[in-house]
Amino acid sequence: MTENAQPKPVAAYCRICGAALGEDEVRLAHGTVYCAAHAPAPEEQAGPPPLPANPGVSPGLAFILGLIPGVGAIYNGQYAKGIVHVLILGLLISINSSDAAGGLEPLFGLLISVFWFYMAFEAYHTARRRMQGEAVDEFSSLVELRGGGRSPLLPVLLIVFGALFLLNNFGMLPMREVLRYWPVLLIAAGVWMLTQQFGGARKGGGAETGGGAATGGVQ
């Protein structure tokens, strides 16, 4: 093809042969420009990307092993996490079976069962990430505690619950008595939803439904 027989403006030049290329002849590969003859075979685009990187990792096996405290994390090769899980579960069980719960044994029983299943599901998600070759978080695959980092919700919750347990243990604020007033939470949730409805009506009425106040009454 001659120079004056090419009405199209030149968009780029081939990296290999230097041919002038029009807009529709440009082949992009590895971040540079090739002509159609010299473009490398697109081996990256050919294969489907979600090929399991580690086909030997089984999330179902991780879930089942996760029901044994710490073993799910050990299956995923996270030994420190396994030890921490065993320590947390043992701490909860020993709090519940000694008199340290101070009358709040049902609450700790719930926490124990929640944490038990948390371990299994966490092992499942970690194993699935490993199978797909993704990066595995050392702390938890389910809860994002380090990523956000803005809201001081977790420390405030720790301090509030610590203070409540402390007052409860020394008998200054017996939770067994306080928790008898748990329907107040329903009233508070209703009032809060009302204020959301009336106050947020101008802003488009995106009132969320109030988070379930699932604090079961002990008494």
């Binding site: 709090i95 000694s98 008199d99 340290a100 101070g102 980092g149 803005r150 001081p152 977790l154 420390p155 405030v156 919750l157 720790l158 301090i159 619950f161 610590g162 203070a163 409540l164 347990f165 402390l166 243990n169 020394f170």
Partner: protein, 68 residues
């Protein structure tokens, strides 16, 4: 600003360990059973994390600006 947050993060483990030791000592010698005083550990841990968060708040904003 971030140095304070790093300091808080670094001394969190030792401070919790010292608190645990103090609670066990109080259990042995002053008659406050550790089965009653264990929520102090929660409070100390939460306080340390809160201090780290507030001390590192400007630094954390700067990191977010670099990432975004």
């Amino acid at each position: 600003m971030t140095r304070t947050a790093e300091l808080m993060r670094a001394i969190r483990g030792p401070v919790v360990l010292i608190t645990l030791g103090a609670l066990l000592l109080a259990d042995r010698f002053s008659g406050v059973p550790v089965t009653k005083s264990w929520p102090v550990l929660l409070i100390v841990f939460g306080l340390m994390k809160l201090l780290e968060r507030t001390a590192g708040a400007p630094g954390a904003g700067g990191e977010a600006r670099y990432q975004g």
